[in-house]
Symmetry: C2
Subunit: 337 residues, 2 copies
């Protein structure tokens, strides 16, 4: 198995190259986007040709970080000397760019995921850091890259999103030390936060609102459950992905130990509608569960054929929504009472 | 006018005293509660008698910080040597405790509010810091107080809440440097965050949900408005204070430049109800406005007899809700279009 390199070894490779193509994972989050654009900007400042090569859309709340760095055009650079993948530990995380990645004369991987294994010529994988952005910061120091405001903003976006604004347990002393230093670079933390959190689609507000309207509190106030069905998506214009976060809102309720969020493409009310969009889809429900402190939702998910972690687990049930809700409710009650 | 002292001068006073009574402001927020309990714990660790004297209830999501420090019993200590007020710049912020405060042989004030003026024997007022907790941290260092986990948790609660989890523009390099150091004290940032944000009253979720149901988007998507009326409070069991945060949710919508939240104790539908609770109250509406980036809501508020800051302003209108909504809508449209 390949092993980790030092920041100095990797910096040397980057400084020696004339051209570097950067590969963040698909469905970029703040860490991938912030790390990628910070590195791209630094490389260009150092006189190199560099782009962030992507294969899908940039989330609208992260587009402010793209000052001409990102492209989906694989021909933007011919034969880049270095292929650098960020925040991903294997090539399945950039499937449509895999062949292009392997064109690089040197391949480098910088990542912080626990499951990642070194697979490139040079690797720095540290699951102990909260964000890949923290590793990029160290690497930029090793490269003696310019410490400017835009780079600081991109690194702040990376670190603040992956630490849940410094609330998650992955946050370390180093996370704060790095951000403190970014203030010397001129970071605009408030601007970055506003860009990231003040571009919520109206449809997202509407679908989460609709879900909370059917919220049920049970098990003596220890459990909260809500669902989204196909008709609610149709009526609000929201995508199912925009229901993300609803389960956390259920969990935030005082006294609630287990939060359950149920998603179904089919509607609760299955009245005949020959042209309904869900008719082409299988009738099943996806269940997400969260435990606040002492309970084990992985055990509940496993009983229902699913799995996950003690505090965050899920399962899929091949049945109509109206049958799934009482079933999951009973299992949660059994676990709590 | 009295001037600021040094941390060393104030530390000397505290170290020389046998008994210190601590006065946070009424309606304690995370900064007042965190600063007060951190200081109380430190003083007790140093062998002094100390309590945090309060005059109202502790918010349920901050009660975890009270490990026997807080009391409403003004007789808990007779003739305390030092009266120390925190996070408040004048005695109107602890009105029922004013006489007791003046009993202290020495009075000290530690605060970060812009409007505060030194009024005690010893003062440290710095509007440049994000939280009083940052000043307490410096003072504890000057006192050579023990650096333990519980003190760190209290200081983290103070700093993280007053900086909006390090997103507000008051956050500085020093805020992060202090929190980095608190990791060496053993801070449990994730536990503190969970306690603070995972004790939301069900009634709060319900009233905010009800308000979003009447949300109106206008001015070509640049404005969002919602209201809460007396009937919605009655039906959900929520207090009007639990609508706090709704205006920020309206502002978070992509494309929205001005968010308007309207509060009325009287209902929109004023059908005859001889026993309705609002009949004893004046019929008026309170309007809160927020600007996202370029607009000036203070100007709108001033036109309607109110005032505030450019990005956060408000006014009160002595009219029924059904008349106030179109009026405010027109003013916002005029400002945006």
């Amino acid at each position: 198995m390949k092993k980790n390199n030092t920041f100095q070894e990797i910096a040397k490779q980057l400084l020696a190259a004339k051209s570097v193509l950067i590969y963040p994972h698909v469905n970029m989050d703040g860490d991938a986007m912030g790390s990628g654009t910070a590195m791209c900007r630094a490389l260009r400042s150092l006189g190199k040709e560099s782009y962030v090569l992507i294969e899908d859309d940039i989330a609208r709340n992260l587009q402010f970080l793209d000052e001409g760095y990102c492209t989906r055009n694989q021909d933007v650079m011919e034969n880049p000397e270095v292929s650098l993948c960020l925040d991903c530990g294997d090539m399945s995380r950039f499937p449509k760019r895999k062949d292009k990645f392997l064109e690089g004369k040197v391949t480098i991987c910088i990542d912080h995921h626990r499951t990642s294994q070194p697979f490139c010529d040079f690797n720095y994988i540290d699951p102990g850091v909260a964000a890949t952005g923290e590793l990029i910061y160290q690497l930029l120091l090793a490269m003696d890259a310019p410490k400017d405001r835009q780079t600081a903003n991109a690194l702040f976006a990376a670190i603040s999103t992956d630490t849940g604004n410094f609330q998650h347990s992955n946050t370390t002393k180093q996370s704060h030390m790095i951000v403190a230093d970014l203030y010397d670079w001129g970071v605009e933390a408030n601007m970055v936060s506003r860009e990231i959190y003040n571009r919520v689609r109206l449809e997202r507000i509407r679908i989460q609102n609709r879900a909370l309207q059917n919220m049920e509190i049970f098990a003596g106030g220890q459990a909260a459950m809500a669902y989204v069905d196909g008709r609610m998506l149709l009526e609000t214009g929201a995508g199912m992905d925009e229901t993300e976060g609803t389960v956390d809102q259920l969990k935030s309720i005082d006294g609630v130990e287990i939060a359950v969020f149920v998603k179904s493409d089919w509607p609760m009310d299955r009245s005949e509608e020959p042209s309904a969009p869900w008719l082409a889809l299988p009738e099943k429900v996806k269940i997400s569960m969260r435990a606040k402190s002492w309970s084990n939702v992985a055990a509940i998910a496993e009983k229902l054929g699913g799995g996950g972690h003690i505090k965050a687990a899920g399962c899929t049930l091949n049945m109509p929504l109206k049958d799934a809700l009482p079933l999951i409710k009973k299992e949660v009650e059994d676990a709590l009472l």
